[in-house]
């Protein structure tokens, strides 16, 4: 457990992706089985101890520590698991048996709610402060160490010397502590069999295409379809087993029982998850309402009905279709859909065109909500996981832009911690500037240095890492769309805002108004 605790601790403090990968790789290389398998399960969010509750942790501490001291300490630290881990009185001399992560997992998995405190107490006595912190974070499911399931799998892939896609392919056929996976990665046995399990097939992704690049492509080689503004998903059904996978291979089926119910047996489909009402795609914000809930109540299901618009078919019954051309798969998809029409599933239509100019006009003319642009797919492209160069492109509509005024700057993280690199910008409402968004990308290193210098010289107030600056700098901000939001003072929220240009030349009084932004609402 101590080694795993040290890993969690180091991951929490390491901001860079590469640093995190290296820490996890080092751990996988050094930790024994099945310890590292359980650790992998913890990192990928697949460990849950439903019978362990924060209230039990609080009660355990209150029984050991003066309540007044516990209260002051909690006020100071601000986090229960951390307070308890730090304040727990260390037993003098013999501390008892230090549990392994495997022991902890195996005992907690079968414990009833009443048994949990009796298990935790001797472990807390035996572990050091970091160990106690890791234990309490683990049982209360609050790791928050900045590691996604995908990043943990990437670390595993790098350490094992295989492609991430190979890990994702076998992942859903396996259960913690993943012994066959480690055996395979260390060369002791062949890759685990996927067999008839409803496993995830890593997606085929498209490359972005700039308007200028289109001339180099032959329009006759490509089919076009709309790129919908939802999230890409894969529907997998094998018999009664049904899975709805996100593009990173996380099973999000529990949040979308309506989609799972609509899923036909024995098929693998690729599509876009959307909220749809009466055949119309709703704003991305509506989909967000569904994505935010692990298990939706009936009202949410009714108010935000989910649907999947299908792009592709990868498997039909026992037949793997990935080796067919896209044009052929498209025919199979249409034939399959004619046989198996379903509520909550429909086909994303192909967009007929004869020239790129015609297609560009169609793209820019499409004002439908939910259309982000076009997908171009070579008619002869096989389904290849990853992001191969050439067969598929996404050709987005030009981004929206707004001239805004820089209001606050905040220090960045990691490599950028010495720079004021996170910028909050505002738009005019009458004589007042209202913050409308925050961006921390889109500028060059040179521009960052210049902005940083400017912020330091023009600070009017500071709180901790934040500096307020006087109105002067106009930032032309690019964003994909804008939505209503009750969480922002402006009442609107931008999607993917980034700095497009720094308008050193433009008088700040001439920046855009909130009204102008509201006119762009989708």
């Amino acid at each position: 457990m101590n080694r795993f605790a040290a890993l969690l601790d180091a991951l929490l403090f390491t901001p860079s992706r590469n640093g995190k990968l290296r820490l996890m790789g080092e751990y996988f290389a050094a930790a024994p089985d099945p310890e590292r398998g359980w650790a992998l399960a913890a990192l990928t969010g697949e460990l849950a101890f439903d019978e362990a509750k924060p209230s039990q942790v609080r009660a355990l501490a209150a029984a050991r520590v003066d309540p007044e001291l516990l209260g002051w300490s909690y006020d100071f630290v601000g986090d229960l698991a951390e307070t308890v881990s730090l304040i727990w009185p260390e037993a003098p001399g013999g501390k008892g048996h230090v549990p392994t992560l495997s022991e902890i997992v195996e005992k907690l998995k079968v414990a009833s709610r009443n048994e949990v405190p009796g298990l935790l107490e001797p472990w807390l006595d035996a572990l050091d402060a970091t160990g106690r912190w890791a234990l309490l974070k683990l049982v209360t499911r609050e790791l928050r160490i900045g590691v996604s399931a995908r990043l943990a799998k990437t670390a595993l892939a790098e350490w094992g010397g295989v492609e991430l896609g190979r890990i994702e392919e076998v992942w859903h056929g396996l259960a913690p502590p993943y012994q066959p996976l480690f055996d395979w990665l260390e060369g002791r046995r062949p890759a685990p069999e996927v067999g008839d399990l409803p496993t995830f097939t890593p997606l085929m992704l498209a490359q972005p295409l700039e308007d200028a690049e289109i001339a180099g492509l032959d329009a006759r080689d490509y089919l076009a379809e709309w790129k919908w503004d939802g999230i890409r998903v894969q529907l997998v059904a094998r018999g009664t087993e049904k899975r709805l996978y996100s593009r990173s291979g996380d099973d999000i089926g529990a949040a979308f029982p309506d989609i799972c119910a609509a899923m036909p047996p024995d098929v693998t489909l690729d599509g876009e998850l959307l909220v749809m009402r009466g055949g119309e795609v709703a704003a991305f914000n509506d989909l967000q309402q569904r994505l935010n809930r692990k298990t939706p109540n009936p009202k949410v299901l009714r108010d935000f009905p989910a649907a999947v618009r299908l792009y592709d078919i990868l498997r039909d019954g026992p037949e793997d279709l990935r080796g067919l051309s896209f044009a052929e798969r498209r025919r199979r998809l249409e034939a399959w859909y004619a046989r198996e029409p379903r509520p909550a599933l429909d086909l994303s239509p192909l967009v007929p065109f004869t020239s790129w100019d015609e297609l560009k006009e169609l793209r820019d003319g499409a004002r439908d909500r939910g259309i982000e642009g076009l997908m171009l797919k070579r008619a002869d492209s096989l389904y290849v996981s990853g992001r191969p160069k050439g067969p598929w492109f996404k050709w987005k509509r030009g981004a929206l832009t707004l001239d805004t005024v820089l209001m606050y700057a905040q220090r960045g993280h990691g490599k950028r911690s010495s720079f004021y690199s996170d910028y909050t910008f505002g738009a005019w409402r009458g004589d007042e500037l209202v913050p409308v968004g925050k961006a921390y990308s889109g500028f060059t290193d040179e521009e960052l240095r210049r902005l940083d210098q400017w912020v330091r010289n023009n600070t009017v107030r500071r709180w901790g890492p934040v500096r307020e600056v006087g109105p002067q700098i106009v930032l032309e901000v690019a964003f994909d769309s804008v939505h209503r939001s009750t969480r922002h003072r402006s009442g609107v929220a931008m999607r993917f805002p980034r700095i497009h240009r720094i308008r050193w030349d433009k008088p700040y009084r001439d920046a855009d108004t909130l009204e102008a932004l509201e006119r762009l609402l989708t």
Partner: protein, 338 residues
């Protein structure tokens, strides 16, 4: 206590300038210039320039001279550890506090009663200064920087191991460690040497003077170099010590891919460490942790305990529950930084 003996609270008081001994006519660590001051140690929240007469250990006087130069004081009286001196019928001794070079507790005897003012102190061994000497007394005035039971400093060696492990895991990154110029810097150097690290350690300019002063006082710290003397790429995989504020500010951009570490007792609390942008927190403190504070109160056998300099309420609560007369002094002017 016999009725013929004095009660310390009748002759030692708190004033706006700080703690004051009436019969001796001196202040301890005064906040504003006074005619007569006794200074526990050289940190800025204890030693200030401009007093008329200052009594302190030779180490503290040297530190004050290097910080304040001409402004240090009208006259400076060095007093070695353990040597008594009489000030208007009050007997004063300085004994080691184990905090930094020259740091002292002040032992004041007057009419059969004894007061000990701890100044800042710690109990664990520190190769760069004399160890804390517990001294029985009637009234103990204790610091409480880490006066909450969540503060329990781990063994120094483990924290230094964390730094050395990180160096082996990220050998292409410059490890810049935030340390205070007086005490922490030299302690980290000494601990590194004790753990077998023999390479030169690079210093930010603000740390050079104090480190040289320690060496003049016979504290061996191994090879140190000003960071500016190393070509940029030579700092990859090296340790650079710098004042905490410099580690995440513009100066650090000149280092190759810096990994920011910080040596401080505050690093015990993760959110504090995260908020400061620290990537490698090292819990190394020059102050007593909760266990040391509570053990010391028991050890000096005082009937009365005054608590100052930090989180006072928890330590007062603890001491009261243990049967001491305890109160919080709420003196101002203390600095949370170590």
């Amino acid at each position: 206590m016999s009725p013929f003996l004095s009660r310390p609270e009748t002759w030692i008081t708190t004033t706006p300038a700080g703690l004051y001994c009436e019969p001796g006519g001196f202040h301890i660590d005064p906040l504003v210039p006074v005619p007569r001051a006794i200074v526990t140690h050289g940190h800025g929240d204890h030693a200030r320039p401009g007093n008329e007469r200052v009594l302190a250990t030779p180490g503290t006087i040297a530190i004050m001279r290097s910080r304040f130069g001409e402004l240090t004081a009208g006259s400076l009286q060095p007093l070695d550890y353990g040597q008594p001196v009489a000030i208007d019928g009050v007997e004063v001794r300085l004994i080691p506090a184990g905090h930094v070079l020259g740091s002292a507790q002040i032992v004041i005897d007057y009419r059969g009663a004894r007061v000990v003012v701890s100044g800042d102190y710690k109990r664990r061994p520190d190769p760069t200064c004399a160890p804390f000497e517990p001294c029985n007394c009637d009234l103990f005035v204790t610091e409480a920087t880490f006066g909450l039971p969540v503060f329990r400093h781990p063994p120094d060696r483990l924290e230094i191991d964390k730094l050395l492990h990180s160096l082996s895991l990220f050998p292409e990154r410059c490890h810049v460690v935030g340390v205070y110029a007086l005490g922490k810097c030299q302690r980290v150097l000494a601990l590194l040497r004790r753990s077998g690290y023999e390479e030169p350690v690079y210093l930010h300019g603000a740390l050079v003077g104090m480190t040289e002063l320690y060496e003049r006082f016979g504290v061996p710290l191994g090879p140190v170099l000003p960071w500016s003397e190393a070509p940029r790429d030579n700092l990859k995989g090296k340790i650079v010590l710098a004042p905490p504020a410099a580690t995440t500010d513009r100066w650090s951009r000149r280092l190759p891919d810096p990994l920011v570490a910080m040596a401080s007792g505050w690093m015990r609390v993760r959110q504090r460490a995260k908020a400061r942008g620290v990537e490698l927190p090292l819990v190394i403190s020059d102050h007593a942790d909760w266990d040391e504070l509570t053990a010391t109160i028991g050890e000096v056998a005082a009937e009365e305990v005054w608590v100052t300099h930090g989180r006072e309420e928890a330590l007062v609560h603890h001491a009261t529950k243990k049967g001491y007369r305890a109160r919080a002094l709420a003196l101002t002017g203390f600095d949370e930084d170590e």
